[in-house]
Amino acid sequence: MTPAAETPLLHARNIGFRYGRRESDYRFDDWTASFPRGAVTALTGPSGCGKSTRLYLLALMLRISSGSIELDGERVDDLPDGARAALRANRFGFIFQDAALDTSRTVLDNVVETALYRGERKRDLHTRARELLDELGVAVPADRKPGEVSGGQAQRIATCRALIGRPDVIVADEPTGNLDPASAQVLLGALRRHTDQGAGVIIVTHDPGVAAWADHRIELSAS
């Protein structure tokens, strides 16, 4: 193995975080975790233990209060806001705990949304978007609005949106929570194909089956 390959894709080094100043606010200190390329890492633990919070920190949406985060061996936690946003647009894909789709736009518009933030033309991504929707088994017309699809379909549309930019890292917050076992398999299959191309996937899950399917597991204890 080359040294470069040993560098983790994403590395949280002794990070600390707190939501507010009150004693009762959720906080943690000194958390270290490593997420390799080409693999799925599952983050598990009881409700409220801080899984989503850690995903947001790793994906540069929240700022850590101590420690450091490295992407491809380069420190990214201390970058200014604009640079962090650019990294989110270009290197990360997100699947949120609820699908978080734009209800005013069509399914197709939702899948290609991030092109705007990367400075790409949305039109150039339409073909790939339709292929992804097919692959994920979203059997609804692409001009349908998210208000007219089921919860499971919405989650799969959000997965297409995460995959469309071929990001290096996908962070997924309970992506299979709303899915029947067959659809869950399709979604996990798509994520697996993405890691096969060298990307890393971090998946938060309550499902022991999904955790077992992942290549690595990080178990968080109740705070």
Binding site: Y56, A59, M61, L62, D81, G82, A85, A86, L87, R88, A89, N90, F92, F94, F96, D98, A100, D102, S104, R105, D109, E113, T114, A115, L116, Y117, R118, G119, E120, R121, K122, R161
Partner: protein, 373 residues
């Protein structure tokens, strides 16, 4: 990625928001179209009537200076006219000699018309006799003057009460500032003999290039004629009219300025509130965009563009409807510059007013917005 792609992408996204966010688009269009309509139908009317009043005053001659001499006065002569004609602020100077009465040659007992020897320029035309030929002395008459002696415009001949005969050779178009001299008939001066003394004139009418230069030119005239006995000379200026013009301009502008500022201020404030309400309702939407990688600048630009495009449409609509409404009711229509300025001001103000709520939106914590179900 090119800047063009990014800008086009933002414009498309803003247009999509305008199309899909019916409520905020409708409210903004109504609000700003109504503001534009109000400004054009109120202050615009004032601006229109102001323009009308000013052009009337100008036609009455806010740019003229009248010099009158009792008899032959030292310095009031064709040389004086030539000097004035060379002054940059002077558009035209016309000199008139004493009046002679004439009648139509064919009707010696008919109505009389006063004709004057004239020097200088009338309506851009140099007043000069051709070399005296067999035709005799030529006369230029205005249509009104020809009518007085019962002749067709620009033709016929007249005979002076003291015997001289003149051939009417040209129909004279009397400029506005000389309308006080109608019915006007002039005998263009013969060229000055070399070495001869300049011939005196009794009345000089000077037209300046602008109402503002009346003062300077008057001072100059006073200086040129300082040798002349003051009791034999009167200099009348339109400075009174010029002052009136200024007062009218200032008055109407001041009264409508308050109104315009009021309407624009109200439009900006309500626009800011509308955008604030809109961004609060759609905070999850903007939070998602930020989380997915939109920069703060992208968010501000998206909202500002959305408001700017909506406002431009609304302002054009409001101004257009107002102009049509004014025209239909036969009310004065404001100058095009005024209407354009109203539309641009409304659009710019609404867009500026949107920047504050847009910035607040861009600075919200995306995670917190995403957690709100």
């Amino acid at each position: 990625m090119s800047a063009r792609t990014v800008i086009l992408g933002l414009v498309r996204e803003a247009l999509a928001a305008i199309r899909t966010q019916h409520a905020v688009t409708a409210v903004t269009v109504l609000l700003l179209a109504a503001s534009s309509f109000t400004v054009v139908t109120t202050a615009g009317r004032a601006a229109a009537s102001q323009a009308a009043v000013l052009s009337t005053i100008d036609a009455r001659g806010t740019r003229t200076i009248l010099v009158q001499a009792k008899g032959a006065v030292e310095g009031v002569d064709e040389q004086f006219l030539a000097t004035l004609a060379r002054v940059a602020d002077v558009e035209a100077a016309t000199g008139f000699g004493p009046v002679t009465d004439v009648t139509a040659a064919a009707n010696p007992d008919g109505p009389r018309l006063g004709v004057r020897q004239a020097y200088g320029v009338i309506g851009g035309r140099l007043l000069t006799q051709p070399e005296p030929g067999p035709a005799g002395v030529l006369l230029w008459t205005s249509p009104a003057a020809s009518r007085v002696v019962g002749l067709p415009p620009g033709a016929g001949s007249v005979r002076a009460v003291d015997g001289g005969e003149y051939l009417i050779s040209r129909s004279l178009e009397v400029p506005d500032y000389l309308s006080g001299f109608e019915p006007l008939a002039v005998i263009p001066a013969t060229p000055r003999e070399p070495g001869a003394a300049p011939r005196p004139v009794s009345t000089v009418v000077v037209l300046t290039r602008s109402p503002e230069s009346v003062g300077v030119v008057t001072t100059l005239i006073t200086r040129l004629l300082r040798e002349a006995p003051p009791d034999q000379l009167t200099i009348q200026t339109s400075e009174g009219l010029a002052a009136l013009r200024k007062a009218v301009g200032g008055e109407i502008t001041r009264s409508s300025r308050g109104l315009i500022l009021g309407v624009l201020g109200a439009a900006a404030l309500t626009s800011a509130l509308t955008v604030f309400g809109y961004t609060m309702l759609r905070r999850k939407d903007f939070g998602r965009r930020r989380a997915l990688g939109a920069t703060r600048m992208t968010i501000v630009l998206l909202i500002a563009l959305q408001v700017m495009l909506t406002a431009a449409f609304a302002a054009a609509l409001g101004v257009g409807v107002a102009l049509a409404y004014q025209a239909l009711r036969h009310q004065p229509v404001p100058p095009a510059g005024f209407s354009a300025a109203v539309a641009i001001a409304i659009t710019a103000l609404a867009t500026l007013a949107a920047v504050l709520p847009a910035t607040l939106t861009a600075r919200r914590d995306p995670v917190r917005e995403l957690r709100v179900p």
